[in-house]
């Protein structure tokens, strides 16, 4: 039961990130560079954190490959979100996603009560998405 739950959560995260990317792409004329920089940092870091922790909980025997994968995914998501705005947001998102992605599987292996932590992390992710929505509406 828990394993399928994890895969379902991962799928929901991918859908949320792609949907938010499409929304930002439609609204990108309204977003200034300051909000764009914060947005690329938040999205790259959260994507790397979620992928690293969920994958290391699902497959605990592949530490090396999961570290490489989560760092690459975090860098790529940060770079994609930054690419919509500017070159400097691109560099910021890439670096932040790489650093957080290198750290994420280590947090995943250390903690106990993993499902509770993962649910808390998803609540945090959805909360930060809501805050980004509000600040885009106001901009």
């Amino acid at each position: 039961m828990e394993q399928s739950n994890l895969l379902f959560l991962l799928y929901a995260d991918i859908c949320l990130i792609i949907g938010f990317y499409m929304y930002i792409r439609k609204m990108r004329k309204l977003i200034g560079f300051h909000l764009g920089m914060n947005m690329s940092m938040v999205m790259g870091g959260m994507a790397a954190l979620l992928f690293g922790i969920i994958l290391i909980t699902h497959m605990p025997f592949h530490f090396t490959y999961i570290t490489l994968l989560s760092a690459s995914i975090g860098g790529a998501v940060g770079a994609c979100f930054g690419m919509l705005i500017d070159y400097q947001t691109f560099v910021t998102g890439l670096t932040n996603g790489l650093i957080v992605g290198l750290m994420a599987p280590m947090i995943g292996t250390v903690m106990e009560m993993q499902m509770l932590f993962i649910w808390f992390l998803h609540a945090f992710f959805i909360g930060s998405l809501g805050i980004l929505f509000i600040s885009i509406k106001r901009a």
């Binding site: 890439l94 790489l98 290198l102 280590m106």
Partner: protein, 153 residues
Amino acid sequence: MLLLILLFMWCVGEILVNYRVVKKKRLLFDDRFTKTICMAIASISSLAMALYLELLLSDNQLVTYLLPVLLGVFIGWRFGSLIKAPASLNGLYNGAMGGVMGMMLGAVLKNPALCNIPIDANSLIASNLFIITIFIAFSHSVVCFFIRYSMRG
């Protein structure tokens, strides 16, 4: 061990080249560009430096705990103080952050049982270590290339 020393020298060379380029063109920057450059370069190069130092040095307690953090702070301070005072603060913070993170990653790679990672054979530990260090050297050079490329245009 030889591979680690080669990667360490590559990392130092990359940092020196970047430092020369930034120093030569420091009059062209505005505030935002300065902040971006300080953040990117201080965090990733102090992470790589601290990781290599932690792996290369022997188990002398005081040196392996203090030296990577001091080196990260030094890199951030040098890059930040080239331009303006607020950028120096930003670089110092990010350098200390990267130094602590690199130290933690190096300690986990040397002894995976610290983190409950189920790898116990010595050959597996060695291959794990080489793959991750090569990946970090690769990402460090990618970020340095992007920064140099942004200054050309």
